[in-house]
Every structure is written in structure tokens, then in C-alpha cells.
Symmetry: C2
Subunit: 276 residues, 2 copies
């Protein structure tokens, strides 16, 4: 039930044009001689894609050479709005985001979370209009890429297209699990499941350890993701703590009893399709 719409753009279109030109001027040779770390904007994105399918040098170079615009956005900012056609694809570089839909009475349902390294709107490549909102939950940094350039890569690099397709199918698998979560689990299991999923995803993205991680969500956000009220989330979190399953200090969560939490959640990570 937020209502912010402030997207603070580091307005640097000139820089964007510079980046396009300089990237296209470099020969593959000279590029390979560079130290890439100083311009590793898409590093986490490439690493994520490589976990989904092997890329070759040409694929990686094509991604690194994508023109982009770096944007810093506030928490609760909308990156994409339901019903709107976007001309850009964004990669989340820092911060956390969610996809959500709202009822006409204003209540909000979060349908997934995004971590740094995720391409946020792959579906814009292929579907004309967004059917949901994309919203940050913390202050974030995104790289926005003109959609035509991403389409060109998808057309010319079949392995990249396959990795993106696989990524969107894993997304779909997570949505299915969420339908189950929200449809058939009680509040304690729902919240436990959310925490298990987040722990595993944070760990596979290399952002922390599954037993102790930073939970960027408020209880209201957890409520909107689980189909509960923030008040009930509060009571259930207190229950999980008193059951000795986890402890919290501020936004830091430590899972004290992973088997216990996993059992409470009926959590099976199969649906996340992380390579064993």
C-alpha cells in the first residue's frame, strides 16, 4: 500500500552515448587486454547467466558492450508500471526489488523478489505490455539497457537467449511455488518458507551465508508477499523466534535451527532449480 513514484535518475544520457561509442570502438583484442574489474557493471549478471548455461567469449563481450544508463532509485520506487510498455530492460546492480500486483481496493500482493544480478524485466523483450509492477524495496542501483539492444543479443546469441529463457522458466517455477505457499500453507509455514527461499537465493547469488543474512524486508513487505497482514506477520515472527528457529537483530537474521525451519516450511529447494 505504498504510493511513491519517485525515480531519481542520475540524468547522464551524454555518458550513455559515450559508453556506446567507446564500447564499439574498442577492438576485441584491446578489450581482452583490459582489466575488466574497473567496468564490471554486468559482472553479477554475467555470473548469473553462466550458472544457467555456458557462455563463450563472444557472448560475454556482447553483454559487456551493451549500452546502458546507470540509475539510482529510492526505496519503494516503481521501475515498471502495470499496463505500460517499456523501452528498456533493467539489470539490478545493488539493492532489492519486488514484482507486485494490486487489487482495485488497493491491497498489494508481492509475487517475487529480485536480488542484485537479476535482469528485472526479461518479459518486456517478448511481451508488449507489463502486467505487473516492478518496485524497489530498498534504495537501489539499476542499469537500464535499451530494449532493442537486448533483443539484438537474443537474436544473435542463441546461448544467451537460452539462458534467459531458462531464467524466465525458473521464475515461473518460483511463482508456482508461491501459489502453493499462499494457497495451501498456514501463516507459520508461509513465512518460514519465504525465509528459507530467501536464504537459499541469497547464498546462491553469493551475497551471504544461508544461516545468517540481511533481510531487507519490513514486516509489511513480508505480509504482502505471503498474503497476510503485517500484524499477523509480527506475531508469527515472534513465534518463530520463541520456537528457537531463528533470531533477529535489526535487519540481520540468523537461522538457529535450519532443519526445524525447513520442516516448519515444508521447504524443498527443487523448484529453485539451482544446479546441485
Amino acid at each position: 500500500m505504498f504510493n511513491f513514484d519517485l525515480i531519481q535518475i542520475e540524468a547522464r544520457w551524454p555518458v550513455w552515448v559515450d559508453q556506446v561509442m567507446s564500447a564499439r570502438m574498442r577492438s576485441p583484442m584491446s578489450r581482452r587486454q583490459m582489466d575488466w574489474n574497473h567496468d564490471d557493471t554486468f559482472g553479477s549478471f554475467i555470473r548469473k547467466l553462466e550458472a544457467l548455461g555456458p557462455l563463450d567469449d563472444a557472448d560475454r563481450d556482447a553483454i559487456r558492450n551493451l549500452p546502458f544508463r546507470r540509475r539510482t532509485v529510492a526505496a519503494q520506487a516503481y521501475l515498471v508500471r502495470e499496463g505500460v510498455a517499456s523501452s528498456e530492460c533493467s539489470v539490478l546492480l545493488e539493492g532489492y526489488a519486488c514484482r507486485n500486483k494490486t487489487l482495485s481496493n488497493g491491497s498489494r500482493q508481492i509475487v517475487s523478489f529480485h536480488l542484485p544480478g537479476d535482469m528485472l524485466d526479461v518479459q518486456q523483450l517478448v511481451l508488449p505490455v507489463a502486467d505487473h509492477n516492478l518496485q524497489t524495496i530498498t534504495p537501489s542501483v539499476v542499469a537500464s539497457i535499451p530494449i532493442g539492444d537486448v533483443r539484438r543479443i537474443v537474436r544473435d546469441h542463441q546461448t544467451v537467449a537460452l539462458a534467459l529463457w531458462r531464467d524466465s522458466l525458473i521464475d515461473a517455477s518460483i511463482f508456482r511455488e508461491w501459489v502453493l505457499n499462499v494457497g495451501r500453507r498456514d501463516a507459520k509455514a508461509r513465512i518460514s518458507h519465504l525465509l528459507c527461499e530467501f536464504a537459499v537465493r541469497v547464498a546462491t547469488a553469493g551475497l551471504g551465508k544461508p544461516e545468517k543474512f540481511h533481510l531487507p524486508m519490513t514486516q509489511e513487505v513480508i505480509a504482502d508477499a505471503t498474503g497476510l497482514t503485517s500484524i499477523h506477520v509480527n506475531r508469527v515472527m515472534a513465534l518463530l523466534r520463541s520456537d528457537g528457529l531463528l533470531s533477529q537483530q535489526g535487519k540481520a537474521v540468523r537461522i538457529d535451527d535450519w532443519p526445524g525451519l525447513r520442516a516448519a516450511a515444508d521447504f524443498d529447494p527443487l523448484y529453485l532449480h539451482v544446479a546441485a
Copy 2:
């Protein structure tokens, strides 16, 4: 909470081999001279794909020439089981199917329905293991295609791959809507929404009119799709009838007040991405 596992296979592998050979023997010329209706197995599938993106003759011929095995399966039969890797892709030719997941306590959540013409497990092309069950809800006929042949088409026919990608993204969009449905709508709105969606999908697939159609689900199936109990579904359906929104005779449903039902459901068909 069904427990059938009976797949009645019209065991005709020889026929399958025949079909492969005869299809490959025909020259494009002679094939074009044929009356295709007598072998229009993939007709509804091709029509569905064409709604997702233009196909050319080569694409259509490649699909028509796919080797397949026609299977007749009972109601409640499992076509794919969670955790299992399948070597086939199936196209639903007749009947209705659903995808579902179950909790360890046995309760079932249906996450989507499939209509004739749908390719049932596109994700098997790209992900190794099924994360959910695929189950018929009526007696059905499916065409099972060896997965390698579908992968070959996807590799060689970019437009087909794009249409399938688009199809799986629309699937994902429907899952998102279901998370919202089950997470934030009350029972009356949930069931109304399910009916609105089904009416639109049946109509776009050319299987009936949106104001009067055959509803192949029992109240227990509707309950498993909406996260309710069949008893509560029964009461709410009676309410919808007494509100004058719809009437039923057996499995036939007539929507008597489409604007009313749509309002009760808070239904906006945008998420189905049917071309306007």
C-alpha cells in the same frame, strides 16, 4: 487429493515409427498438395503458436513432421510427476489438464489449467527436472513428442522458439495473477476470477463462447485451484447463482451477468496477453 496413476497408453510404438518415416519421406511439394485435415494432429497447437507470433511454411511443416505418439489417458492421470525428468513433450489434443503441487500433508494446490492445443511441458525443453505434477482433469488425448525433436525445432526455427518463449512468459503472467488471486482476494472474488479467466481462455482457444461454456472441473478441483475447501466452494457457487451472476446445468455454465461477475472478480484480462 487424488491418488490415481493410471496412464492408459495406446501402445503403438510401431505406428510412431511409421509416422516418423512417412513424414520424412514426403517431399515438401507433395505435402503441400495433400489435404492436411486428415492428419491435423497439431492443428490446434499450430493455431495457438501463430497467435503468439508469425510462422512461415517451413515452421509449420517442421511442426507437422514431428514424430509423436498419440496417447489416451484417463481422468486424474499423471502425465508428469514432480522430481522426474521426462524424455517427452506433450501437446494436449482433447480434454483438460492442470498443473499442481502438493504439500507433504497431502493437500493439493492447482497452479494452472490447460486447454486443447496447449503444449503441456515446454519447460522440460529447458529445465532438467519437473518441479510440479501435470495431471488430467478429464479423460484426454495427448500427443507425446520426443524431447530431442522439439529441441531441434527450437534450435533451427527461431520464430518457433520465440513463440514458445512468449507462451511460457504468458504462463508466468497467469501464475502471478493466481498468486494475487489466492493471496489477496476473498472466496467470492477468487472463484469469480477463476470463472472469468476460464471463460476468456475457452473463447480465445475457439472452444466455446465466453457467456456459455463447459466447465470441466468438479468443485473439489475449483477448491484446489483457489486454495479453498470444496465445501466453501459449494456455498460460494450457490451465492453466485443466487446473486444472478451465473446459472448452471450439470457441467454447463452460463454467465448471466458478465459485468457483475467481472466486478465481483476484479477481473482485468490484461495479464492473459491476448492480442486485442
